[in-house]
C-alpha cells in the first residue's frame, strides 16, 4: 500500500524525465507491473494450456503427409459431416442470437416475480452433463416422447434427424448469447431510449439505430462462442442424431470412429481441419466485430 501511494505522488513529467529513452508520449501507468513480465506470463500460460496441446495435434496429423491428409479430410463422408456440424452449429447459434437477445432483454429490463429463478435457469445448459442433456432431449423428441408425439402427425422428425442435431446445439448454446449480452444491456441506460424518443425517433428507429449498434459487438461474441461450442459438441448430440453415415453423423463422431479403429493420425487430421476452419470463422467474426466497432465510433 505504501509503495503504491509513493509512486502515485510522482508526476508523469518526472516519470518521463527519469526514462530518457522513453518516447515523447507519456507512458500510461497500469496496475499490473511491467509489460514484459505480464506478457511473459501470458505467453507461458497460453502455451501451456492452449498451444502445446494444439501443436501436438498438428504434429500427429503431419505424420500422414499432405496427400493422404487431404484425402482423409475430403472424403465424401467427412464432407457430409462438416456440412452437418458447421451448418447445424450455425443454425443453433442463429436461433440463439434472436431468442437469447429477447431473453437477455427481458431479464435485464423488466422486474417480475421469479426473475432470479429464470436468470438461474439460463445457466443450466452449462451445468448439465452433456450426456444427460442428450438423453433428455432424445426422450422428449423421440416419436413416442412429449414433443415428438406432437410433431409426428405433421411429418416432422425431431429426433434421429438433422433437426435433432440443431435442437441439441441450440440447447447448449443458449447461455453463451444471454450471458454476453446481459452486462452490456445492464450498462445501457434507459435514458438513451428516452432521448431518442424525445428527438422524434420511432420505436423501430430507436431499436435499429440506437440500441442494436451498442449490443452488436456483444451479440457477435455470444454467437461466436455458441457456434464454437456447438462445433465441438459430442456428448449431447450422439444420442439425438441417430449417427447415420452421410446423413446425421457429426464430425466429432467421425473422429471417435477413427480412434476406435486405432487410426490416430486420421482422427487428428480431421481434428486439425476442424480447428483451422473454426479458427478462420472465429477470426472472421472478430474482424467483423472490430469493423462494426470502428464504424460505430
Amino acid at each position: 500500500m505504501t509503495a503504491d501511494s509513493s509512486t502515485r505522488s510522482t508526476s508523469p513529467a518526472a516519470d518521463a524525465g527519469l526514462r530518457v529513452a522513453a518516447p515523447a508520449r507519456a507512458r500510461r501507468r497500469t496496475i499490473l507491473p511491467g509489460f514484459g513480465l505480464t506478457l511473459a506470463f501470458t505467453l507461458a500460460y497460453l502455451s501451456l494450456i492452449v498451444l502445446i496441446p494444439l501443436s501436438a495435434t498438428f504434429v500427429k496429423a503431419s505424420t500422414l503427409g499432405w496427400a493422404q491428409f487431404w484425402r482423409v479430410v475430403t472424403e465424401p463422408r467427412s464432407l457430409a459431416s462438416y456440412r452437418l456440424s458447421f451448418g447445424a452449429s450455425f443454425l443453433g447459434a442463429a436461433v440463439n442470437a434472436v431468442f437469447g437477445l429477447v431473453v437477455a432483454w427481458v431479464l435485464v429490463r423488466y422486474r417480475f416475480p421469479g426473475r432470479r429463478l429464470l436468470d438461474a435457469l439460463v445457466d443450466l445448459p452449462f451445468a448439465l452433463p452433456t450426456a444427460v442433456a442428450g438423453i433428455t432431449l432424445t426422450t422428449l423428441c423421440a416419436p413416442g416422447g412429449w414433443v415428438g408425439r406432437q410433431l409426428a402427425p405433421l411429418g416432422i422428425k425431431a429426433a434421429f434427424s438433422p433437426l435433432g442435431v440443431v435442437i441439441a446445439l441450440t440447447f447448449i448454446g443458449l447461455p453463451f448469447v444471454v450471458r454476453t449480452i446481459q452486462p452490456v444491456l445492464q450498462n445501457l441506460d434507459a435514458e438513451i431510449e428516452e432521448a431518442a424518443a424525445s428527438l422524434g425517433a420511432s420505436r423501430w428507429q430507436t431499436w435499429r439505430r440506437v440500441i442494436l449498434p451498442e449490443l452488436w459487438p456483444a451479440l457477435l461474441t455470444g454467437i461466436a462462442l455458441a457456434f464454437a461450442r456447438a462445433v465441438g459438441e459430442y456428448g449431447s448430440v450422439v444420442f439425438i442424431s441417430g449417427n447415420m453415415p452421410m446423413k446425421t453423423e457429426i464430425t466429432p463422431l467421425l473422429i471417435i470412429t477413427k480412434l476406435d479403429q486405432y487410426d490416430y493420425a486420421g482422427a487428428t487430421a480431421i481434428g486439425v481441419f476442424m480447428l483451422v476452419v473454426s479458427f478462420v470463422l472465429l477470426l472472421v467474426i472478430n474482424v467483423l466485430q472490430w469493423w462494426s466497432g470502428r464504424r460505430a465510433a
Partner: protein, 343 residues
C-alpha cells in the same frame, strides 16, 4: 496483512489436500494388493459379483486381502486407454481385436496372448440374438425376416461398438451360408438389412435403450446376455426373445497385461484372477449373468437358460479378427460401402 496470511494459509491447505488426494491410492496399495480390471460395458454386474467372490477365494487361499477395481466403457475406448497408459493389470474386453491392438501397439503383453489361457482365452461365450415386442407382431423368426420392407431393425454402430461388430458378422455369416457362399448376395443382404436400421447408437446399451425405452424399432439385435437381461429387467410381458437358426459364437476374451502386472508386483494375483474365471464358481457367476459357461458341468446345469442354436466361429467364416476388421469395418471397408456405394 491478516488477509494475506489467511490467503496464504488457505493456499497451503489446498495444496496439502490436493496432494493427499493424489497420494491416497499409493497408501492403499501399501496395505493391500490392488488389481485393476479394465472391461467393456455390459460386464459391469458380472464383474461386481465375480470380484467379491474372487476376493473371498483369494483370502481363503493366501490370507491376503485384495481390492479389485473395475472400469467399464466401450471396448475399443478401453483398449485405447490401456495403450495410452491406463495401468490395467487385467483386461476383459468384447473382442480379441482390441486386445490384439494393445499387444501390437504397446507391447505390454505378448502377441500370442490368446493361446495363454484355455479356450482361446474366452472363459465364457455369448451369441447374437433378437429381441422383439410381446407377441412378436411381425412374426420375426430368422435373419431373413429382418430385411423385409418396413421392418425397423435396431443395432448399434459397428464403427464404435464391439457388440455391433458381432451383430454384423453374425448376419453376414448367416447370409453367406444361406446363399451358398455367394459374397455378392451376402452384400445385398447386408445392404437391405442396414437399410432397415433407422438409428445407429454408439454402443450396445444405447441400442437397448432406444428399443426398450424409446419404443423405436420392431426388432433389436444384441448380445444374448444383454437381451436376456432386458427381458428380466423390463418384463417378459413386454418383450420376447427370438433365437435365429444360425448365429455367431461370440468370444469375449480376457488377458493379463503382463508388463503392467509385473511392474505392480501383481502378476501372480492377476493370473489367479483370470484362471478363477474358469473355475466352477466363476462359471456359475458367468451363467447367472447370462454368459454361456464353457465348463461342461456348469453348462449342462444351465442348459435350459441358453437356447440351442447353430453357432459358427469368426475364424471359420472370416479368418480371424484382423481380417474381419480390415475387410468389413475399416474406413472404406464393406460396412462403409453400404452407405457409400460405388467407391
Amino acid at each position: 496483512m491478516t488477509r494475506r496470511l489467511v490467503l496464504g494459509a488457505l493456499v497451503v491447505v489446498m495444496v496439502a489436500v490436493a496432494g493427499g488426494v493424489l497420494n491416497a491410492r499409493s497408501d492403499v496399495a501399501l496395505k493391500e494388493q490392488t488389481l485393476l480390471n479394465v472391461s467393456y460395458d455390459p460386464t459391469r454386474e458380472l464383474y461386481q459379483e465375480y470380484n467379491a467372490a474372487f476376493a473371498k477365494h483369494w483370502k481363503g487361499k493366501t490370507g491376503e486381502d485384495v481390492k479389485i477395481e473395475q472400469s467399464h466403457s466401450g471396448s475399443s475406448k478401453q483398449a485405447r486407454a490401456v495403450i495410452d497408459g491406463l495401468e490395467a493389470d487385467v483386461v476383459t474386453l468384447a473382442l480379441a481385436y482390441d486386445i490384439d491392438a494393445i499387444a501390437g501397439k504397446s507391447g505390454l503383453l505378448p502377441k500370442d496372448w490368446q493361446s495363454q489361457l484355455p479356450r482361446r482365452s474366452a472363459p465364457y461365450t455369448s451369441t447374437i440374438v433378437f429381441l422383439v415386442r410381446k407377441g412378436n407382431p411381425n412374426t420375426i423368426k430368422d435373419w431373413d425376416d429382418l430385411i423385409r420392407p418396413g421392418i425397423a431393425v435396431i443395432t448399434p454402430n459397428p464403427k464404435t461398438s464391439g457388440g455391433a461388430r458381432w451383430n454384423y458378422l453374425a448376419a453376414w455369416g448367416y447370409a453367406l451360408k444361406k446363399r451358398g457362399g455367394d459374397e455378392a448376395k451376402a452384400r445385398q443382404f447386408m445392404t437391405a438389412l442396414y437399410k432397415n436400421v433407422p438409428v445407429l447408437d454408439s454402443g450396445a446399451r444405447g441400442a437397448t435403450t432406444t428399443f426398450v425405452e424409446r419404443g423405436i424399432g420392431d426388432v433389436l439385435i444384441n448380445w444374448e446376455n444383454e437381451v436376456l437381461l432386458a427381458v428380466r429387467e423390463f418384463g417378459a410381458d413386454r418383450f420376447e426373445l427370438v433365437v435365429p437358426s444360425v448365429s455367431i459364437l461370440a468370444e469375449p476374451p480376457v488377458a493379463v497385461v503382463d508388463a503392467v502386472a509385473e511392474q505392480h508386483g501383481t502378476l501372480e494375483l492377476a493370473r489367479a484372477y483370470v484362471d478363477y474365471l474358469y473355475s466352477e464358481e466363476g462359471q456359475e457367476i458367468a451363467a447367472k449373468h447370462y454368459y454361456r459357461p464353457t465348463l461342461a458341468s456348469v453348462a449342462a446345469a444351465h442348459a435350459a437358460r441358453f437356447p440351442a442354436v447353430e453357432l459358427f466361429t469368426i475364424d471359420a467364416v472370416f479368418g480371424g479378427w484382423q481380417k474381419a476388421q480390415t475387410t468389413h469395418f475399416d474406413d472404406g471397408g464393406l460396412f462403409d460401402q453400404i452407405y457409400q456405394p460405388g467407391r
